[in-house]
Symmetry: C2
Subunit: 337 residues, 2 copies
Amino acid sequence: MNDQPVIGITVGDPAGIGPEIVIKALIKHHLNDKYRLVVFADHAVIDQAFFHTGLYADIREVRKPDDFHFQSADIHLMNCGIIDHHVQMGQINADCGNSVLSHVSSAIEWALKGWVDAVATAPLQKESLQQGGSPYLDHTAMFKALTKSNDATTLFMVDQLRVFFLTRHIPLRDVADAITDHMLSDAIPRCLLYLSQLGLTNPVLAVAALNPHGGEDGLFGTEERNTIIPAIKKAKSAGYRVEGPIPGDSVFHLANEGRYDGVLSLYHDQGHIAAKTLDFYRTVSLTMGLPFLRTSVDHGTAFNIAGQNKANETSMIEAIHAAVLYGPIIKNSPDSS
Amino acid sequence: MNDQPVIGITVGDPAGIGPEIVIKALIKHHLNDKYRLVVFADHAVIDQAFFHTGLYADIREVRKPDDFHFQSADIHLMNCGIIDHHVQMGQINADCGNSVLSHVSSAIEWALKGWVDAVATAPLQKESLQQGGSPYLDHTAMFKALTKSNDATTLFMVDQLRVFFLTRHIPLRDVADAITDHMLSDAIPRCLLYLSQLGLTNPVLAVAALNPHGGEDGLFGTEERNTIIPAIKKAKSAGYRVEGPIPGDSVFHLANEGRYDGVLSLYHDQGHIAAKTLDFYRTVSLTMGLPFLRTSVDHGTAFNIAGQNKANETSMIEAIHAAVLYGPIIKNSPDSS
């Protein structure tokens, strides 16, 4: 077990399902026995998650690697000390946002110091984060800023499918105009680099088409002809192993069959629908392009069921597995930015 | 077997994979022994498919129901008599388009006469169809015109998922503006009617959202707030069982889990990606709103592998199964238009 990486786990918003799914993953599914894990949270929040789940373990508070004692069955906790009271579940709350800001920052600091090898995050609540005084909109913004990584890139993994996103949180009507040669020319080499960092040899990337049937030669849209095909040709000429544009309704199937190592989807729902329809709970999100690997559940805080012991912990388990599996490779990659 | 429906099967473009997948479905998978099937094609084209597949059966040419003799192992063929020579596979060809126009028209005529109870179609090639003198762009146009059905609607089925489409063959950049209250108000009752016609009791329809996270209250798009939510509210007030808008990355998963009986997707790739990533080969397409059921494979002619005995016949088998299963219900539905 000593050669295993140490994984930091942040519980996300205390009023959401994050603490519950972390505790279920660690105790009910025995990940705490199997791996070397450090939880970033408030002690009171973990106690409340014990109460909600009916699960329990001894807590070992740690403030530096010397405090680790993974031979024990204790949950290792980096106690952020923001919340010391009962949290009202499912509510926007400045204290909760403040707790997230504190415990995620702390996990990033530990990762930069090399005290943990990768970080797996449970979901936060954006509005609470704002009310808690965060200058960052979300997890990705926090990881990018605090690690000074401009190129941080989200990758979804499920089954054999690895999906990148060219655009994400913009209205669907703005997607066609947002896609530029510059973006594609920047994204293609980075996606290929990240696939290599995941241990794939000579990976091949497929670029999804934007329009039905890939535009059917201009009949249903001109972006393939005018922007996407030229960018792919240019990348190919430069020696990159990239194919496409492949129509959206076949590219994910083909990638999942192993024909392509990764897919560059062009908009949020294109890649999200593919991954999450294929396996809603086992889809895991990786943030690439940081100095260390961050993995994440691909769902939100689910305030409507928080505190009811109803949340499905599968995605959290997958996020921890992925951190253990890929964290050391990415940390040691000579190309990691 | 006598109470079974009679299903018409059109082989589609003779230069594509259609004849091959029909012959494989009927002989290799024994559907011709199990069901009462009439193939619409040219005799020479079937002979060529025997040659390509190495499969063989006796042919019984039929021109009216009196000619049927389903107790025999013969393939029942309505010979359209357009092609009497070897077809160059994988090529655009006016004769092939003319053959499709003839044999599909003939199958529709038989269905309108009640000689067949439903029609399952293999893929055609649009350019060949045009060169063959067809006034119709594709299958759907042909079925709509020849049956005088303005409301013909495509439905994809795979696993527990049933997907309708509000828009289809338009550029992605035009989708947001294409979605109107009028279209939604027209589509919601029809989708619910079609779900009832498939035998579902008190079906519930979910409408997919257009934007990431359903627009996140206007942050990533306003169509939900301005158009989709009001249309759904109006339909609910009128007593229709409809939910939404549900974000694209969860609505298909939820429907496949049984939470909704059908999903109204808002654009081509939204529904296509969900269905075809879930199970590429077993996705089957139903055309609802005709006087009879038409089912179809959900793929094209695959000219690149035509005549090579490489085509996967699964979708054709599913299309025939669906025609047998749902054809009689829809034919006898009092509401079928």
